[in-house]
């Protein structure tokens, strides 16, 4: 890990300073936070009165009102809770493209750090999980600790896409509630991620799918090439003049399929090209 890598990642933190990431709907009951909660809680902000019913917590009774009117009312307040945010970053071998710059990986890392910074600034606990295939190659647990963003930056800067040497035990990704941000090129997606996203949204969670695409994938070189898939060397195809247009059509259709799959699962989808500024993508995603 070079200091310059960390510094390059950290530039996105400054770029997204001031950006807030609001929950799209009331969040599940949790620790006090900035997002409106589905639970009527004990906060100081008064909302309404409701007649006391058997079983209500007597601590919710408005005793002064009972004394004045001899009627038992319960004082209701809106609760605010945090929205735990988990960012899942794909570090498979296909993210190490182009080989010279690894622009896809650095774009994904900058996006993850930007999302983490925005979530942390919103008071939400944030964590990052880096996966390569079925293995977790980097993980920062969700926390509201002040230095979590720097920890995430250091962790991301030290990861080499496709390097499976740091394999931790597989862990189920996803769960009830919370905010999940998946940053990937989705080339290894087999439908399981979309299914988990559907479960999460059903349980009240928010899922964001950020599709990282290299500029060279959108506009491959026009000279004749024999291209191969880094994750499947058996796939070797000639990228010539005629096949180039067929490739562009097929790749565009596949991206559309990916978008529709994630959106049908209740997730919010955004595509990020490597020639875009990461902070712009972050701002675009948090407004989805």
């Amino acid at each position: 890990m070079a200091a310059s890598d960390v510094a390059a990642l950290a530039r996105v933190i400054d770029a997204v300073r001031g950006v807030r990431w609001s929950a799209r709907r009331p969040v599940a009951p949790a620790a006090p936070g900035a997002h409106g909660s589905r639970r009527r809680g004990t906060a100081v902000e008064f909302t309404e009165y409701r007649p006391y019913r058997q079983g209500d917590d007597p601590r919710g009774l408005d005793w002064k009102l009972l004394a004045r009117t001899d009627r038992a009312y319960v004082r209701l307040t809106d609760d605010h809770a945090v929205l735990p945010t988990t960012i899942v970053v794909d570090a498979s071998l296909s993210m190490a493209y182009p080989l010279t710059t690894r622009a896809k990986w650095w774009m994904a890392a900058r996006l993850a750090l930007g999302f983490a910074a925005v979530a942390q600034a919103s008071g939400d606990p944030v964590g990052v999980t880096v996966v390569a295939g079925d293995a977790i190659v980097g993980d920062v647990a969700r926390t509201t600790r002040r230095g979590v963003v720097a920890t995430i930056a250091s962790m991301l800067a030290g990861i080499l896409p496709g390097d499976g040497s740091r394999r931790d035990a597989p862990r189920e990704i996803g769960g009830a509630g919370g905010r999940w941000v998946v940053v990937s090129d989705f080339l290894q997606a087999d439908g399981a991620a979309v299914a988990r996203a559907r479960s999460a949204t059903v349980l009240g969670g928010e899922v964001y799918a950020v599709h990282v695409v290299a500029h060279e994938e959108l506009d491959p070189p026009r000279r004749a090439l024999l291209v191969s898939d880094p994750e499947d060397p058996a796939v070797r195809r000639p990228l010539l003049g005629a096949s180039r247009s067929a490739y562009l059509d097929a790749f565009g259709a596949w991206r559309e399929q990916v978008r529709e799959a994630w959106q049908s699962a209740g997730a919010r989808y955004a595509m990020a090209s490597t020639d875009e500024a990461a902070d712009r993508v972050v701002r675009r995603v948090v407004r989805l």
Binding site: P98, L187, E216, V227, S228, D229, P238, L239, Y247
Partner: protein, 385 residues
């Protein structure tokens, strides 16, 4: 050597260049690269048409180029041409009785006909074409007592020039003769006109006794110009001049008669070209008929030109040799005709059959057979590898 149909060779060169260019275009596996989205590229042959820095199959290329060039050269029909001199001199040398000194003729002819290809036409009453050993022939040339016939000599000279067109780029005809009147006949002008160029004239001294043979003519010149050989014209007109040699008399003459020129030589003409006086010779006898009315009014008969005209008509027969020489001189200085005639202007040059065409075609066939063998050998080698 030259090519009769160079367009075939040009086409062959173009085809060879195209074949060479095609050898630079090769089907080769393109450079490899990594693309994570390679799965979206349609499956196809992993070769692409690229331009190589060096031609592929150098042996095949050489055989094909050689075959194409040899076929093109064979169809272009290369021909060999004989070695040609710059100028072929055809010298018509007079050795007749009219020549004063035949050595003068030989010297003049020798100065001109010095090349190995030059042709000498020695003539008196009959011409003799000499194409070899010219110095010896000129040294042995002797004057004969025969009367010269320049027309026959010119015919022989033109034939010699035509036959020598393959040996030189241009041809020059030179006449070395005193050009006496007895050497010229009615056909001389026409024969000379067959030669497209000028005829160079080298005049030598005439023999003195040739002048002695000139006879005083009998002149028939009635005052009204009605000679026996003339008949009346259908319409009488007025002509303003009469010409004989270099003498011109300008005066209004009434032209009543049309003189008969059959078997006669015209010695004077009206200004419009109609014969006005003729001369007939028979053996040593010379008769002149002058159909010009003597002006009875005015001072025409007192003028010097009229006196000279009368002198010409009464002069000895043959004295107008100078006028014949002037005519030949006019041949030579004719500005419309070149002094030398290009040999190619006479006819197409003779083509020497060239066996090279056969060899070229045979070489092309061999090259094509070798090309097939080399191609199959390359295919076998490629299949094994």
């Amino acid at each position: 050597m030259s090519l009769l149909a160079p367009v075939f060779f040009i086409v062959a060169v173009g085809a060879a260049a195209a074949a060479t260019a095609l050898h630079f275009i090769v089907m080769r596996q393109p450079p490899r690269d990594v693309l994570p989205t390679a799965r979206f590229v349609p499956i196809g042959p992993a070769v692409a048409r690229t331009v190589a820095r060096r031609p592929e199959d150098l042996v095949l290329l050489l055989l094909r180029v050689a075959a194409l060039l040899m076929i093109g050269a064979a169809f272009a029909h290369p021909v060999w041409h004989r070695r040609r001199a710059a100028v072929l001199h055809v010298v018509v040398a007079d050795r007749s009785r009219a020549v004063a000194d035949v050595r003068e003729v030989a010297d003049s002819a020798g100065r001109i006909a010095s090349g190995v290809n030059d042709v000498l036409v020695a003539f008196d009453s009959s011409p003799r074409v000499i194409a070899t050993s010219l110095p010896e022939s000129l040294a042995a040339m002797r004057r004969t007592g025969a009367r010269a016939r320049l027309s026959a000599a010119l015919v022989s000279a033109l034939r010699a020039a035509g036959s020598g067109k393959d040996r030189a780029d241009s041809i020059e005809v030179t006449v070395v003769s005193p050009v006496a009147a007895e050497e010229v006949d009615a056909a001389t002008d026409s024969i000379r006109g067959l030669w497209p160029g000028a005829v160079r004239l080298v005049r030598v001294a005439a023999r003195a006794d040739a002048e002695g043979r000139l006879v005083r003519p009998t002149v028939h010149w009635p005052d009204d110009g009605h000679v026996a050989t003339a008949r009346g014209r259908t319409s009488i007109d007025t002509v303003n001049a009469i010409v004989t040699g270099r003498v011109v008399v300008v005066a209004p003459f009434e032209r009543r008669w049309q003189i008969d020129t059959t078997g006669a030589r015209v010695i004077a003409r009206w200004v419009d070209g109609v014969p006005a006086a003729v001369e007939r010779t028979s053996g040593v006898e010379c008769v002149r008929d002058v159909a010009v009315p003597v002006p009875s009014a005015g001072d025409v008969v007192l003028r010097p030109e009229w006196q000279r005209f009368v002198g010409v008509t009464r002069g000895a027969c043959g004295r107008d040799a100078s006028s014949t020489g002037g005519r030949l001189a006019a041949w030579a200085i004719d500005s419309a005709r070149p002094s030398r005639v290009a040999a190619s202007a006479l006819s197409l040059p003779t083509v020497v059959p060239n066996p090279l065409v056969t060899w070229l075609l045979a070489g092309a066939v061999i090259a094509l057979l070798l090309e097939v063998v080399a191609r199959r050998a390359g295919a076998l080698q490629g299949a094994r590898s």
